[in-house]
């Protein structure tokens, strides 16, 4: 099972990269035509609205939006009620009212929708877009300005980002590279997360399994508790490194195959390995301590919850940290030892301006916290693994730590 999952993940990573690449080029498949009822209270936009919808439908034969103009009626309330009823029985998909004063900018486009699915949001914004275009076109006409001229005036100047290499060669950066620039740091962080957190899970299950099956007593007759704990951490760290290099190579391979140009320096890899080893020992020691005082996985999970929440923090805020690798938020997280490895590899791969003192300080903090946490964990571990039954309270655990 383990080997299977290890081998499958690279394919998964490759697959995700491959498909996300393909997907970004995809325009989406055909969908049934949508019927939109539009009531134009300015009474002057009709021609423009019809034109923009015709243009749109002509260029999107598979995603038609059918326009239905609602002529002004004396009783607006009754008209609105009638359209809303049609909306509910689904004979139209949207009912739109353009306020009388949309042209001078104070009115609104009001869209009435019924039971809209997330997948339909795209055509809704398309309708908004089209109506806006109609309004702008009419404004142009009122100001005696050709819409084409306006578009021409407003046209962006194309820009090109040129990366200059070490030996002077120049390379134009593609749009996809900017995305990759964001994704590489994320991938490094995610790999670190998987390596530390995913492998750490094995620690907890193995401790609890050995505790439950009482293998632990046989093991302890041959090994000291510290040897046992250290052996587990080292073994899992080695497996973790192997698995991560497999996954990393697979991801790198797929990216290169898909034509992305990724540069990963030896320096980065070294940092990764150093941070991984320290981070893993730290995290695994915590887990060994937790695992040893629990009798079931369920108990362990409830104790794990705060730890898990902490690890989620960098995962949900990675975009911010990639864009601001030297921001105060990223910096603070760098110095919380269990998070240091994840945050630091993210920052190091996102920016080249991470100060050396920060790297040194974060490493120093890790290096100092590892023996401290290991010491505490070993104290809890050596007593906890032989205790069955009720989970000890904090006071009892402190007594274990103090015990000779």
């Amino acid at each position: 099972m383990f080997i299977l999952s290890v081998l499958l993940v690279p394919f998964l990573i490759g697959g995700i990269i491959f498909f996300s690449h393909k997907l970004s080029q995809d325009k989406g498949g055909p969908r049934p035509a949508r019927r939109v009822a539009v009531a134009d209270r300015t009474r002057s936009l009709s021609g423009k609205i019809v034109t923009v919808f015709e243009e749109y439908n002509a260029s999107n034969p598979e995603q038609q939006i059918i326009l239905e103009e609602i002529l002004p009626a004396p009783d607006r309330e009754a008209q609105a009620e009638e359209q809303k009823k049609r909306l509910k029985d689904k004979s139209i998909h949207a009912y739109v009212v353009l306020d009388q004063d949309v042209l001078d900018g104070s009115g609104k486009i009001r869209m009435y929708l019924f039971d809209t699915k997330a997948s339909e949001l795209e055509y809704v914004s398309q309708v908004e877009h089209l109506l806006n275009r109609a309004v702008v076109n009419q404004r142009c006409e009122n100001a005696n300005l050709k819409p084409e001229l306006l578009a021409q005036l407003r046209q962006w100047v194309p820009s090109e980002r040129v990366q200059i290499g070490e030996s002077g060669q120049e390379r134009v950066e593609k749009e996809s590279e900017r995305v990759i620039g964001m994704m590489v740091p994320f991938f490094f962080m995610f790999l670190m997360f998987q390596g530390v957190f995913g492998m750490g899970h094995h620690m907890i299950t193995s401790v609890i399994e050995e505790k439950n099956s009482r293998v632990i007593e046989v093991l302890l007759s041959a090994l000291s508790p510290f040897e046992l704990m250290a052996g587990k951490i080292l073994g899992l760290a080695a497996i973790g490194l192997t698995v991560m290099s497999l996954w990393g190579v697979a991801a790198y391979g797929t990216a290169v195959w898909q034509g992305f140009d990724i540069e990963i320096t030896i320096e980065m890899l070294t940092y990764f390995i150093v941070y991984y080893c320290l981070g893993f020992i730290l995290f695994c020691s915590i887990l060994a301590g937790i695992g040893s005082i629990c009798n079931t996985l369920k108990e362990a999970q409830s104790l794990m919850f705060p730890v898990t929440m902490m690890f989620i923090l960098p995962l949900v805020s990675w975009v911010n940290m990639v864009q601001n690798p030297d921001g105060i938020y990223a910096r603070v997280l760098s110095f919380i030892p269990p998070l240091t490895p994840m945050v630091m590899v993210l920052r190091l791969s996102a920016s080249s301006t991470v100060a050396l003192w920060e790297i040194c300080l974060s490493l120093l903090l890790l290096v100092m916290s590892v023996p401290a946490v290991m010491f505490l964990a070993a104290r809890i571990f050596r007593i906890g693994i032989l205790m069955y039954g009720k989970r000890p309270g904090p006071r009892e655990i402190i007594r274990w730590i103090r015990a000779r």
């Binding site: 293998v215 046989v218 302890l220 007759s221 090994l223 000291s224």
Partner: protein, 301 residues
Amino acid sequence: MDAIVLDNVTKSFGPVRAVDSLSVRVPTGCIYGFLGPNGAGKTTAIRMIMNIIQPDSGRIVVLQNGPLEENRQRIGYMPEERGLYRKMTAGKVLSYFGSIKGISPRECDRHARQWLERVELIDHIDKKVEELSRGMHQKLQFAVTAINEPDLLILDEPFSGLDPVNLDLLKDIIQDMRARGKTIIFSTHVMHEAERLCDYILLINKGRSVLDGTLEDIRSRKKSHAVVARLAGDTEFLKSHPLVEAVAMQEKNLEITLIPRASPQELLKDLVGRVEVQRFEVKQPSLHELFIQLVKEQNAQ
């Protein structure tokens, strides 16, 4: 030379004194039985010998206090709660524990096969532990304990759950190990197992040593007050005999209980004059009877 010395060892769990001023010497090369009812403190004593838990007070010397690391490899311990990796095969489990216990990796598989043959599990070498029956599991656990030929074997309730055939198999192996100079300690609450196997016996009740010594010692310490006899002729007179407390008929034999301080010899002399004595045997108190008697006496105090 003593393999294990416990000197005035005490261990409490909260208000309960699990082991109370216990002193024992286990000579090298013998089989020592720790007997006692459930909850007497046998397992606690064994766990302290194994250094799994520490005594509150007292001194424990195991294998002349050799270096801890070295000692660990010289001791085989079979805990009361059996446990092995359920998903591993029998052969792999043995090799794995062999390697932990200091057998070189190349030798592990060979040792594992040898031991599986010895406990008659060689046909199940590729079966997962969880597929084994309870008795097989037990034998495998024993093989795990003994795989590296330790000098000292500590077995907590080694015979529970074994059928008579496997019981004898295990006893043979244990006796064979004693013959090769190993020391074996085991705990049990089933007396006749101990009676057939032990050189020495320690009887514990409520954490205290009740009896300690060789089997012979223990038996002779307690004077017997019962006699089994087969007599030809009228035996009615026995019921009113001054030395006799009670008479019971057991098939063709009479079981005669004497009054305290009466000697079986006096009774025999008297009987020979009156009837034909076909059989006369001073009844040895079985360990079982001794055990129950002593535990009752102590609990009554």
